[in-house]
Symmetry: none
Subunit: 202 residues, 2 copies
DNA sequence: AAGGTATGAATGAACG
DNA sequence: CGTTCATTCATACCTT
């Protein structure tokens, strides 16, 4: 981007980037994807209107392709533990309900790597989630001795300690109602969308 | 030996991509950038038109799926930085990785308050978290030899796992200009993002 | 095919 | 400051 702070892989077939750069890239693309989805929605509606007026029939593009192209990159693929890995994880979890230390994580990761691709982050997340889940189940049962664990919105009565200075009611309700003021489809949007249908051959 | 000072399972510090993947990414971004440029143009054009005609009649596509997101109000108690705020925070973080002083925090808070409700505590926490996260990512730089283990994972079983990335069976197109693979698209990026204040569900 | 559920991942906030 | 908790989001998988 601005300056050459990337460590180029010596001009070979690979480039190296840090996780942060990766993450930044991913977010940027995600934003673009969102924008484009909205654009496509607008365009579809607009086209429908035109069609209604007898102007034009059929859409020259299809969004499925767009979506696929977008999600190819804009989405994050998530790790799915293999049965063998899961078994090992469960075993370890029984022994030590506490969160394994960094060192332990590394060890476990190496162990699980025998059965499939995995990273330390995956292991870490797994234990965190596992723990949280266990805790939640308990709190759902405890409230009353009766087995009223049916779907009640009320579950954990925790002391929600809120910072006095941080008393911010939900102001984040940013209405994006007035953000769609571009309803002019006359620009060559079709071409743009068409381009996206073949990202490999652009 | 390396297990002595590795911070934590923060995943790999670097990712390696092939030229084809890189190229695909570059194209994708280029397309997005183009589309967004067009979006901005459209917006300008449309605004001018509306101003001329003064016709503010109900847009049929004024509420596709975006305004439908206006629900779930008053349910968020935790601060959620808006994209615009995030952008600013990231910028500041790059300049000064050190902990911002008390005064600096106040300043940043005031700045961010322009884009939404925020408190100094939020800013403080954000920087703390950001820093911690960065540190975690510095470990596990070189697992062993081939880092391409993220792609070569093969499951002989009938794994239903959909492989989101397809790589090599492609013709090596491009001795392309490898100068900027991800340039921060400044084309009204902030503005665009600003319009998409809440990409989530709200 | 659509909707629900389980669960991996992200992150703001709290704790020591 | 580093680690952990709690909540939420996104997605894979399952059910009808």
């Amino acid at each position: 981007m601005e300056e050459g702070n990337f460590q180029n892989g010596g001009g070979l077939g690979v480039k190296v980037m840090t996780d942060e750069q990766m993450e930044m890239l991913r977010k940027q693309i995600a934003v673009y994807a969102t924008i484009c989805e909205q654009l496509v929605e607008m365009h579809k509606d607009l086209s429908a209107q035109q069609e209604f007026a007898g102007m034009r029939l059929g859409n020259p593009y299809c969004d499925p392709l767009l979506s696929s192209a977008v999600h190819k990159i804009g989405s994050r693929q998530r790790w799915t533990p293999k049965p063998a890995q899961l078994q090992i994880l469960e075993q370890i979890f029984e022994q030590c309900n506490a969160t394994p230390g960094r060192q332990k994580i590394k060890d476990i990761t190496r162990e699980l790597a025998q059965h499939g691709q995995i990273s330390e982050t995956n292991v870490y997340n797994w234990f965190q989630n596992r723990r949280a889940r266990s805790k939640r189940k308990q709190s759902a049962v405890v409230p009353n001795n009766g087995e009223s664990e049916m779907e009640t919105e009320n579950e954990s009565f925790k002391e929600k300690k809120t910072r006095p200075e941080d008393s911010q009611p939900d102001e984040n309700t940013t209405p994006m109602a007035d953000q769609m003021y571009f309803n002019n489809p006359d620009i060559g949007f079709d071409q743009l969308v068409g381009k996206m249908e073949s990202p490999g051959e652009l």
